[in-house]
């Protein structure tokens, strides 16, 4: 099976699933709205159902290998409490299974979420992370079991100190190949952020997200990557300026191709904050460094805006001006919006890329093509028809 990346349509929110050739799954953020479940609202894709169908099961219990929370904003962790299992994995039972609670084998957690508390789901993630960290601190014999594993991404802030757990830490500039206790030889993750300075300054108005590059090879011995996908949460132009400076200074842009990209998840749901300060009309010119980041694109690179439909209005993000800047770099056909790119009836569909030996490729859009049966949706039955 080829590796895949799926960007879920969740309105202004992020939720992406990386599936490796060996079926290892890495979920980046979650935005599971209760209203999206089942057929309640046709305008929302049932991401939970798709996720359950896309991940593996162990003893009938669904699990993701890794969950990466880029940062604690609600549109990146909505639904965590209700849809993911928290607590001792040994106590996962019939009720949890029935409720479709997903076990997170390995949690990737930024200490930054300990520095602020903006929503309940974020607090639950923090509590679960603390539970796992305690097991590791206490050297609990079950600490390395699936469901207890954890990586600390980046540095500690002012409120929490995990110094004695540095062996669990992955800092910017690191290449991670051990995913859920399994060494990958055709996949790796280059950690770009968060930096120490961001976390120490917890009052910084710009959210310090985890930023990373997912890297796929065709063969283990290859030096070239067949796909490089950039995930940046809500990182802003200042973050990217630092990323650019540090990566180039350490030559990682050459030795690790750490800035190259084929797929770029537009930060903060296609916000102008990637290009400059907001409001956009007060800072209308994109920063040179942001444009430079985009220039690291490879052939036929694609930008994905995980946001609601991008309209030229004042309801931002998504910023229409940001979309225009992206299009200047990749072209109109290579800028995809999760809410509008592939809509079946009224329901936006995930944007999925299959990672081939020649880079990411998109299967053609699918439609319900059965020639028999009644309409898939309510069709004309929900429309008032008047005959004169």
């Amino acid at each position: 099976m080829n590796a895949k990346i799926k960007y879920y349509p969740t309105g202004n929110g992020d939720m992406s699933l990386i599936t490796l050739e060996d079926n290892t799954t890495i979920l980046v953020d979650c935005n599971i709205r209760e209203g999206s479940k089942g057929d309640k609202d046709k305008t929302m894709y049932d991401v939970k159902e798709d996720l359950l169908n896309s991940i593996q099961k162990r003893n009938s219990n669904p699990y993701v290998d890794v969950f990466v929370l880029t940062h604690g904003d609600e549109d990146h962790c909505r639904g965590f409490e209700n849809n993911f299992y928290q607590g001792d994995p040994k106590k996962y039972g019939e009720k949890n299974r029935k409720d479709g609670e997903i076990i997170i084998d390995e949690l990737w957690f930024s200490p930054m979420i300990a520095e602020e508390s903006s929503n309940d789901d974020e607090d639950i993630v923090q509590t679960e992370a603390e539970r796992r960290l305690k097991l590791h601190k206490d050297k609990d014999p079950n600490r390395n079991e699936p469901g207890n594993r954890i990586y600390i991404i980046g540095y500690d802030g002012a409120n929490k100190d995990y110094k004695d757990l540095d062996h669990l830490r992955q800092t910017p500039g690191t290449v991670v190949t051990n995913i859920n206790n399994k060494e990958q030889n055709k996949f790796s993750i280059f950690i770009h952020a968060p930096f120490k300075v961001q976390i120490e300054d917890a009052n910084n108005k710009n959210t310090p997200s985890i930023v990373f590059q997912a890297r796929f090879k065709n063969h283990a011995v290859d030096t070239e990557y067949i796909c490089l996908a950039m995930f940046g949460g809500d990182s802003d132009h200042e973050s990217w300026e630092v990323i650019l400076e540090k990566t180039e200074r350490k030559k990682n842009h050459q030795t690790q191709k750490a800035l190259d990209w084929d797929l770029f998840l537009a930060p903060h749901h296609c916000s102008w904050s990637f290009f400059n300060e907001t409001p956009q009309d007060e800072h209308p010119d994109p920063k040179e460094n942001s444009l430079k980041v985009l220039d690291y694109k490879r052939k036929n690179a694609i930008v994905i805006a995980s946001s609601k439909e991008i309209i030229d209005d004042d309801d931002n993000p998504p910023h229409y001006e940001a979309k225009e800047e992206y299009i200047k770099k990749v072209g109109k056909d290579k800028f995809l919006n999760t809410d509008t790119d592939d809509v079946n009836d009224k329901t936006p569909q995930p944007i999925e890329f299959i990672i081939t030996a020649k880079g990411p490729s998109r299967p053609p859009k699918t439609t319900n093509s059965n020639s028999i049966g009644s309409a898939g949706g309510t069709g004309a039955a929900s429309t008032v028809i008047k005959h004169g």
Binding site: C227, A301, A357, K358, P363, K365, T367, S369, S371
Partner: protein, 743 residues
């Protein structure tokens, strides 16, 4: 655009059916047909030119295969039969990379896309035109992304759009011949295969090949074939050529342009370093051409395992139209036709198709209606290790519900079923398929020892008794299958580990289970109130399946066969109840009754008798005894007796009635409500389960019957002998169960 096929086609001028006109308008709506010229295709088809935009990987196509962002195609649409015949999708490009892609049909020099694996016309009927176009897009996307060969990294074999006859052989066998270079003589890279021309092949183009012949066997084989021909056999023998290259080179390209003449064929073989000229020279020189056509199989080594079997050699099949004048040279323009290939029925093929791994050797006791159907399910699932024992003859009335067909009338059932099975395995050894056309009571230890599973479908109590005490059954798993209650209830019993629960435990326990399972109670009520009817065929058949319809037997046989195949999954004993309602709409429900091992006690005073107690009975007795200690405790045993096997089964206890009196040296067992309780059990179990004895405790530790006990036994024996049942008295003393029985 000289590189398009359509440039050489003439414009279509005639009218088209409304269905095709609708197709054209839909293609326009979808933006794939821009309204250009339509063309006359071949054989009554109109060619509609369309263009498809193809989604390709960001870095270009995988392996740089020449799939383009816009692909021109021709939809070949049957003028008369569209939409019942799906349009064929031809690439309009002469330079389409057809030799490098799987899922393409071999049609002369054109690439015909295989959009859907099975039943193109049915698939098209189920999908819209938009869905059809999407499938084409998906095919081209996969072609460009290296995703067409998705069969677990296996090599998709060449697809033939049309062929002339079929050559049947075992792929693994031919693979072994090729890889072990089992040629007709060491210096050659070809084998001569012995086989036959298909009996139903009107055009003489369907062949079977069985074995490779060594050089030394050719002469005698030819002589035998000549003799055989005089006998006008159903299938005439023929010799085929299997030819391969001695080079290690593998070939990944597909051959879409297949040869039509011998000259083309020789050139075709040259591409793969296959010396067909030498093979044909050998064939003709040795006068092996006993028929006009020479079947030839070419073996091509592919880079991966082929989809559908375990080898990496693909076989391409042809016939060359030569002469049946033996030794006559074949002209260069001799006609060559390509053939398809298929595997004969083998146990491996059947297992693969059925997804079954039923490799246990099964001994079938009884080849009647039910047994024959379970036997055939196993046969079709690939089991070629079965013995069947039946002394009966297959008679006309058996046609009503037996697996055998009229061609086997008058034959012994066991022999006929095994012959049927042997006919299935045309190319495989069948030494493990064995018929024993005799009374099963004559079976010897060796007949049992070589089997892992025994299936008794005789529905005979006599056979049940014989199996119960048969010392030859030790490590085998014993099943008993029977159908009762006018065919509405099927019962499959499976013995537990070390024959516990044993078959008699299970059968008798099922009667008792009438108290818990309504379907059993209904059967027991029916049996106890209805006299069985017999068919007017004059047969003294003891089986209660006599009045059952064929569909009912199949209903139960199918699930029984499935359960018997799953021997490895459970090691406990069970009774499987497969029940359908008596009337329309015949709702089918199943129940699995797990039966725990029984405790066995030999009687103290007569070791030939055994008491077998269902799980939990002895602990209930001990518990009741300890509660009343130091007084005596007592109660009544519920079960049944089998005089033939000298076994009493105890399934339940009834507490001593309320008018009983317990003392330290005596227990007066009362009668209050006891007859009613027993009658209720007897009624619900169809008279089979009821009072079977007494138990009482000796708290003082006496291990034998007291004087009072002996007096009671004598009194009870007079009553019990009338039933008749033996008089059973169980004493509980010093934590032991001590049964005493008196016939």
């Amino acid at each position: 655009m000289d590189n398009l096929y359509s440039t050489s086609l003439s414009e279509h001028k005639g009218t088209l059916s409304p269905a095709i006109n609708f197709l054209i308008s839909k293609l326009k709506d979808l933006g794939v047909y821009t309204g250009g010229k339509l063309f006359d295709g071949d054989t009554g088809r109109v060619a509609i030119p369309i263009t498809i935009e193809v989604s390709l990987p960001s870095g270009g196509t995988v392996d740089d295969i020449d799939i383009r962002e816009v692909e021109p195609l021709l939809l070949m649409v049957s003028k008369n039969y569209y939409p019942f015949i799906a349009p064929k999708v031809h690439s309009d490009r002469k330079d389409f990379p057809k030799t490098r892609l799987p899922h393409l049909y071999a049609v002369a020099d054109q690439a015909v896309l295989c959009i859907n694996r099975n039943g193109q016309n049915d698939w098209f009927a189920e999908h819209t035109i938009e869905g059809f176009i999407n499938s084409i897009k998906l095919w081209l996307y996969k072609a460009g992304s290296g995703l067409l060969g998705t069969d677990g990294n296996e090599f998709d074999p060449t697809r033939l759009d049309s062929y002339n006859g079929i050559h049947s052989y075992q792929y693994n066998k031919l693979y072994e011949i090729v890889t072990k270079k089992n040629s007709v003589a060491p210096e050659f890279n070809f084998a001569i295969l012995f086989g036959s021309v298909g009996a139903n092949s009107k055009d003489g183009l369907s062949y079977k090949s069985f074995e490779a012949l060594p050089l030394i066997a050719l002469k005698v084989t030819l002589e035998a074939m000549a003799e055989l021909k005089k006998l006008k056999p159903v299938e005439n023998p023929i010799l085929s050529i299997l030819c391969w290259s001695d080079k290690e080179e593998t070939f990944s390209d597909y051959q879409t342009d297949l040869p039509k003449t011998l000259e083309d064929f020789e050139n075709f073989c040259d591409q793969f370093s296959i010396d067909i000229k030498l093979a044909l020279k050998f064939y003709i020189t040795n006068k092996l051409n006993t028929r006009r056509r020479i079947p030839v199989i070419l073996a091509l080594k592919r880079p991966k395992k082929i989809v559908g079997y375990e080898g990496d050699v693909e076989f391409l099949n042809f016939t060359i139209l030569g002469s049946n004048v033996q030794g006559m040279k074949i002209p260069k323009n001799a006609e060559v036709k390509n053939q398809s290939h298929i595997e004969p029925f083998t146990s491996e093929l059947a297992s693969r198709i059925s997804g079954k791994e039923n490799r246990e050797k099964i001994l079938f006791l009884g080849g009647g209606a039910l047994g024959s159907k379970i036997f055939m399910h196993n046969l079709r699932g690939g089991n070629n290790k079965m013995t069947i024992v039946d002394k009966d003859i297959f008679l006309h009335h058996n046609l009503a519900r037996h697996s055998l067909h009229s061609g086997r009338l008058g034959k012994n059932k066991a022999v006929a079923l095994i012959k049927e099975a042997q006919d299935y395995f045309e190319v495989q050894q069948t030494k493990n398929l064995k018929a024993i056309p005799q009374d099963l009571l004559t079976l010897e230890a060796s007949d049992f020892n070589e089997h892992q599973v025994i299936v008794d479908s005789t529905a005979s109590l006599n056979v049940q008794n014989w199996l119960t005490v048969n010392p030859n059954i030790q490590n085998q798993l014993l099943f008993r299958a029977e159908i009762v209650h006018k065919g509405t209830l099927g019962l499959l019993y499976k013995e537990g580990k070390d024959r516990n629960p044993r078959i008699d435990d299970l059968v008798n326990y099922t009667y008792f289970a009438a108290l818990s399972y309504p379907e059993i109670e209904a059967w027991r009520q029916y049996d106890s109130t209805t006299e069985l009817e017999n068919l007017p065929v004059g047969l003294g058949c003891s089986s209660t399946t006599v009045l059952i319809a064929d569909d009912d037997i199949s209903l139960h046989a199918a699930i029984f066969s499935k359960l018997i195949s799953d021997t490895a999954k459970v090691n406990y004993g069970y009774v499987y109840l497969n029940n359908r309602s008596d009337e329309f709409p015949y709702i089918v429900k199943s129940n699995l009754v797990i039966v725990k091992p029984f405790e066995n006690y030999a009687c103290i005073n007569d070791k030939s008798w055994n008491i077998r107690m269902a799980d939990g009975i002895s602990s209930r007795i001990h518990e009741a005894s300890s509660i009343l200690k130091p007084k005596e405790a007592a109660g009544v045993l519920v079960g049944l007796v089998n005089y033939k096997t000298k076994v009493v089964h105890v399934f339940d206890l009834i507490d001593a009635p309320s008018d009983s009196i317990a003392e330290c040296a005596c227990f007066y067992r009362g009668v209050h409500n006891l007859p009613n309780a027993i009658d209720e059990i007897k009624k619900r179990t169809g008279g089979l389960i009821g009072y079977i004895g007494e138990w009482h405790s000796h708290p003082m530790g006496l291990d034998s019957l007291s004087g009072q006990d002996r007096s009671n036994v004598a009194e009870l024996k007079v009553i019990n002998d009338k039933v008749p049942i033996p008089t059973l008295s169980i004493i509980v003393s010093n934590g032991k169960i001590l049964p005493f029985i008196f016939e």
